[in-house]
């Protein structure tokens, strides 16, 4: 009887979760709806400084161990905020790309598929990078690799630009700030 109760509760829980996900707006692919306007440009220079290993090494040599940990934690928190923004931008571009997937123009559809692929890769890498950042927050002296994020963002930029131009030639795309 105990097993019956456990399985019945598991089934009810699974049903509720599935219905919640299914009823979320945007679970189904449709041709309307654009949220790409909410994209937040990223400051690439600041991002690069924060991710730079040589900057961290320089700080390690110049500061005492406790000061370095304090500063490095602040840098990691800022880096996490950037990765969050990059991940959120990827979400927006997945949405925009999936909307464009239904386009009757094969070039637009192909560009949309490439954009969605790049955005998914970035979102996946961002998840891993965030995990690493949170681990590094506990041990600030450990190294941190964010190269996949930068690579993903670079690919995403190219794809977003191509799709943006195909959909609206007069309006290039920007997902980064100067």
């Amino acid at each position: 009887m105990t097993l019956a109760i456990i399985l019945v509760l598991a089934a009810v829980f699974a049903l509720i979760l599935i219905l919640c996900v299914a009823l979320l707006p945007g679970t189904q692919l449709s041709r309307n709806g654009h949220r790409a306007g909410q994209i937040q440009p990223l400051d690439v220079k600041a991002f690069r400084n924060l991710a730079d290993r040589s900057e961290a090494e320089y700080l390690r040599l110049r500061l005492t161990a406790s000061e370095f940990r304090q500063v490095q934690r602040a840098r990691l928190r800022a880096l996490a905020a950037y990765v969050h923004v990059a991940s959120r931008n990827a979400d927006m571009l997945i949405h925009a790309g999936q909307t464009a997937l239904t386009s009757s123009d094969p070039h637009t559809a192909a560009a949309a598929r490439e954009l969605v692929d790049s955005a998914l890769l970035l979102r996946r890498n961002a998840t891993v990078a965030l995990l690493r950042i949170y681990v590094a927050l506990a041990w600030p002296s450990a190294g941190l690799a964010v190269t996949p994020i930068l690579e993903g963002y670079q690919r995403l930029s190219g794809s977003a630009m191509l799709l943006g131009r195909l959909q609206d030639p007069g309006s290039p795309v920007r997902i980064s700030a100067q």
Binding site: M1, A14, L17, V21, S30, Q154, P172
Partner: protein, 260 residues
């Protein structure tokens, strides 16, 4: 009315399978079977096997043992078909994106192994709910199939939600109907296999399963046959699709960083 062999019982057992058979034929006529071969096979073979089981139940000359053998045969046909169908949903949802295909494939394999082990433990755990092995075995097999199916479908919904992936209309409908059916059937078969319910409760659970299955068949019909409402297919107005500017500077900057 809520008793075995009442008119409602006959209706709920036969009608969804006739409709599902009709849906299979409509899929064939519209050539959708090329896109959804597993669902096409499930619609035809699943409906036919259920109607065969129904026939063995209502024909008086057929023995109870033959009826349970028919149930076993039906389960052995429907079980693999459902997993092919889950595979089809998975492939339509993640298979088209190279960046997620491998990750989804690895995760689903690991989850599949975990679910099969959990289902095997659950099937080995309960005492026989019947004096006859053929009956309790069928109940455990139902529970096993629905446990694995529910876990896989839940993973597909959660994984696609995490990556903000939207499912195509048809795949969404197929996955939604299959998930509702799997969850409700898991709950009721787990109770029947392990809870040893009274005849009355057992009968009510049968009605629940059949009624939910009817709803799921209608969901499949709606998403596969009904045309979606007309939507705005015109391109978005300038400057609302993406914000302005150039990505060239960003790309150059990142390239410099990566190669420094």
């Amino acid at each position: 009315m809520l008793q075995a062999h009442s008119w409602l019982w006959h209706y709920l057992w036969v009608a969804p399978n006739i409709v599902l058979l009709g849906l299979g034929l409509a899929i064939w006529k519209r050539r959708l079977w090329r896109q959804f071969p597993a669902f096409f096979a499930y619609a035809l073979l699943g409906a036919l096997s259920e109607l065969a089981v129904y026939t063995t139940d209502v024909v008086p000359s057929i023995s109870a043992e033959t009826f349970w053998r028919a149930i076993w045969t039906s389960l052995l046909i429907e079980g693999p078909l459902k997993f092919f169908l889950v595979g089809e949903i998975l492939s339509h949802t993640f298979g088209v994106y190279a960046s997620l295909k491998r990750l989804a494939s690895i995760l689903i394999r690991v989850l599949g192994v975990v679910l099969v082990l959990a289902a095997a433990v659950a099937a080995a755990y309960p005492p026989n709910d019947s004096r006859f092995g053929i009956i309790s075995g069928a109940h455990r097999l139902e529970q096993t199939i629905y446990l694995v199916e529910t876990g896989l479908l839940l993973f597909i919904f959660l994984f696609s939600a995490y990556f903000k992936l939207r499912l195509s209309r048809e795949i969404f409908g197929i996955a939604l109907g299959l998930s509702i059916s799997a969850c409700v059937h898991l709950g009721s078969w787990a109770f029947i296999a392990n809870g040893i319910p009274s005849e009355r409760t057992r009968s009510l659970l049968d009605f629940l399963n059949m009624a939910v299955y009817q709803v799921c068949v209608l969901i499949w019909c709606y998403y596969l046959l009904a045309r979606p409402r007309s939507v705005d297919v015109s391109p978005p107005p300038p400057n609302q699709n993406f914000p302005h500017s150039d990505l060239g500077d960003w790309n150059r900057e990142v390239e410099r960083l990566m190669h420094s």
